[in-house]
């Protein structure tokens, strides 16, 4: 097996403010409140960037919008080492 990579050296942004305003591309500040749920069916997905483990590769930052142009399924789940 080749050596796995670690590209997760810089902090990731988490949820990202969408294009259009002055602060586009910045991280969404959840502490400011007013964010209960931003996503809606039929509306644009909220972009985010975070670290990931990818089998055979290692650690890599993943940005949702990098997958634009494909069908994407996001599966949230409660935790590793539980039944899923």
């Amino acid at each position: 097996m080749g050596r796995l990579k670690d590209d997760c050296v810089a902090p990731t942004k988490g949820p990202i403010i969408p294009e259009g305003g002055d602060r586009a591309g910045e991280a969404i500040d959840l502490k400011k409140g007013g964010v209960d749920m931003l996503v809606r069916v039929g509306k644009e997905a909220v972009d985010f960037e975070t670290s990931a483990y990818i089998e055979g590769y290692g650690f890599k930052p993943v940005k949702l919008s990098d997958y634009k142009g494909k069908w994407i399924v996001i599966c949230f789940y409660p935790g590793d080492f539980t039944f899923v």
Binding site: C8, G14, P15, I28, L30, V35, D36, M37, L38, V39, R40, V41, G42, K43, E44, A45, V46, F48, T50, S51, A52, Y53, I54, E55, F59, K60, V62, L64, S65, Y67, K68, G69, K70, W71, I72, V73, I74, C75, F76, Y77, P78, G79, D80, F81, T82, F83, V84
Partner: protein
Amino acid sequence: MAAVASLYDEFKALNVEILAISTDSRFVHKTWQEMELTKMLDGGVPFPILSDPGGKIGTVYGVYDEDAGVDIRGRFIIDPDFNIRAMEVLTPEVGRNPKELLRQIKAFQHVVKTGEVTPSGWEPGGKTLTPGPDLVGKVWEVWKP
């Protein structure tokens, strides 16, 4: 998640990227893959497993449970234009049905491609409907549950 992974070839064939995400760190994801998932499934989970520290992403997607500190079972389908097409959120006790996920993706892809709409329980090859004034009040003629 292993159940979704077991149908990975079918998702790939539909040009679907799957991203799993929980509040666990990438380090725990790696260990889980090595210690357990590879034993459930040859090669383990083949898609990226993302980390959501503090549930920030889950909060924006409406699935973060602050009391438990975890993201509950939420599944979102996003189309190539980056629009959310479907969401399904379950409390943790009940697992998902990957076959239903596949069915919904096939239905959305069919709708995007053809402009037709798919009635309840549609499967590929099944009857579709073409919306328009002519269909109003006449659905019963072409489709029954």
